[in-house]
Symmetry: C2
Subunit: 398 residues, 2 copies
């Protein structure tokens, strides 16, 4: 009965082990969730207030491209970064997810190829599958902090079916922030080979140690062949709002988004009120939030360094890091943590990194850690992870 695409659609590696976590909880174990990018930081009260103050008696469809005010505050937001964007160049989506699938569909046909540095945010794999597009991985590795490889490594993967390149900066899952030089290289390659650049900048603010984020919108010469894919989920700690957006200066591309968007009518109306408030009052909360993630990054990195045989470089941004663990199979280890290990009734869940790679066999001994808990809990969760690894190596793999 099912289609091939239905049968072979991959389950989310972030979510598919959740049944094990639920089973642990049923047995009374508390699970520290470092597997999913669901922050515990309170959503700014300005956002809830705007949602509560929705003034109308009818909860109506909005425009397919988003409410005018949502588009305006996002254009203003980019202007504060010195990036000139007009409201017409902003298209509001239902979460960053929809920004991805609409953008992919606007540029690719079934059978086309898109390049993406690997490991990558796993749901790109899901959306490529749904769009019948093949993701072609560009190899990067934990040893050199997941930096982009030389041009020729990228260019030798370009075929006549290649239509675009996806870049995630700050990167989910690696925490790498691409330098301006790396972004310019992407731009040059895109121009040379007639590719479109999809730049996922969801974590734009989460950049540490004085580094500076470079948006694809700042790169010259590719104005007509790039789009920013974005979302308020992480920036405003409002994952459940499902408000994302695309920014592009290519009018034909925007028009295709609009036609895709008309089919699904509109993004959520009330939660756009929250998004508008978030962008308006960002100065009230953003710096505190970034500082908090920087402290957590420090704790996670410190604790990883205590794990014998584990390896990672210090994450530069976002709130993730990919770590090589001293275990043969990270997924088996994660399941074991949920089914057979706890400290004082608590255990820790991380995400297997193999699901973030398109190349079979890669990332088998790596995990993604999302540092989305407050410092004290995070330290405890990381200690439990370390103790689990020690026990697992001795008793299971030993």
């Amino acid at each position: 009965m099912l289609s091939h695409r239905g049968n072979t659609m991959p389950a989310s590696p972030i979510r598919r082990l959740i049944p094990y976590a639920n089973e642990a909880k049923r047995k009374g174990i508390e699970v520290y969730h470092l597997n999913i990018g669901q922050p515990d930081i309170p959503t700014p009260p300005e956002i809830f207030e705007a949602i509560r103050n929705f003034p109308d008696k009818v909860l109506p469809y909005g425009p397919s491209e988003g409410l005018p005010e949502t588009r305006e505050v996002i254009a203003d937001y980019f202007r504060r970064y010195g990036i000139e964007v007009s409201p017409d160049e902003v298209f509001i989506t239902t979460g960053g997810s929809e920004a991805i699938i609409f953008s992919l569909m606007a540029i690719t046909d079934p059978g086309d190829e898109v390049l993406i540095p690997e490991p990558f945010y796993t749901n790109y794999g899901g959306f490529a599958h749904m769009s019948s597009v093949r993701l072609v991985p560009i190899p990067t590795s934990v040893e050199d902090g997941f930096r982009l490889p030389p041009d020729e490594v990228i260019e030798e993967r370009i075929t006549e079916r290649t239509r675009g390149i996806i870049i995630i900066t700050p990167n989910n899952p690696t925490g790498t922030v691409y330098t301006r030089e790396e972004m310019e290289r992407i731009g040059r390659i895109a121009k040379k080979h007639n590719l479109f650049v999809f730049s996922d900048e969801v974590y734009r603010e989460f950049v540490f140690d004085g580094k500076r984020h470079t948006s694809i919108l700042e790169i010259e010469g590719i104005e007509d062949r790039c789009a920013v894919l974005d979302s308020i989920s992480k920036r405003f700690s409002a994952c459940g709002a499902r408000i994302g957006f695309v920014v592009s200066r290519n009018k034909k591309f925007l028009d295709a988004l609009l036609r895709f968007g008309q089919a699904r009518l509109c993004p959520p109306t009330i939660e756009q009120m929250g998004a508008i408030a978030g962008f308006k009052y960002m100065n009230n909360f953003m710096q505190d939030m970034v500082d908090e993630y920087r402290r957590r990054r420090d704790v996670v990195y410190e604790e990883i360094m205590k794990i014998e045989g584990a390896f990672t470089l210090k994450p530069e941004g976002a709130f993730y890091t990919v770590v090589r663990l001293p275990v043969k199979n990270a997924e088996d280890f994660i399941i074991w943590m949920l089914t057979s290990f706890s400290v004082d009734g608590k255990t820790t869940m991380v995400a297997p990194a193999n699901g973030f790679y398109a190349t079979p066999g890669k990332g088998e001994d790596e995990v993604r850690i999302a540092y989305v808990l407050e410092v004290e809990k995070l330290r405890h969760a990381m200690e439990i992870l370390r103790l689990g690894i020690e026990r697992y190596r001795n008793e299971v793999e030993g």
Copy 2:
């Protein structure tokens, strides 16, 4: 730069004439919108209250399949109709739109075909395009109230690529409610030819004159090959909430929906609170809402009967009707109404029906009227439409 699917994605016929309406409004003309199914009926206050009372400090991701409570109240809702549904058989989507695209993708691969009685809710065309699926229209016509044609007319359209059949009851855009006998015929054909039935029952409650709605879930022998596609948008006058759902007893199909759903993480969280309240307190408002639509239906039908040369049968359900107008090209007429006609500073906008047909050339002289305004405004809007037709026939076509 754009893909074929991006270039050829159809614009919504309901929305693509909106620039003409906006232009009319800029000139100070008030536009009665009978083009879009956006009701003016207040969203029940219970729904807004639930949204306002969201208790948590963080607006988090929910489960990809929807919150447990949302799935439970929907299972209860079906039980009140005597239809046994378990919460596990309910999958919450971001609007009915997502229910459509996920269900299509679970059953079809690019190049497959799906049957659908024509005219049909235009966005099925959009979603089929996005899924690279061909919709094969089953002809129906205004003369016989858009009833299903005999089995052989349906069966002769089945090829080896046909994977399913879409049925919308009560129908958007025609207002037809399929009888139990018609639903059983669909079931028999689906079983005989190994097809999946997608049954869009968004307007389940909006059935008039003592007629009874038959759900696909009541049809025996196709339990493993059907799904209900549904949404709270119209039932609760909450189009902007973007909460829909799929109900099916096919576990593999539900599992495919879950994997598609994991890629987009979750449907909106806060607006599920509203949906839960809507289903809990339905008895407080549903009958009044249905009575109101019945009164409007009567007004629309009465007024159509006054238009010389117009034709339709009395709509049985939903809040639409497709009318043949005495004009050569309905779209030209609609644009003329927005650009060149008004009565006391007001004009009326309806949707061209050609966009609801897959067969080129069909529906050119038909429009869809959505009776989504209160009785007095609706009567005035319909009078303006009648006067517009008279003038247009005399001065433009005459």
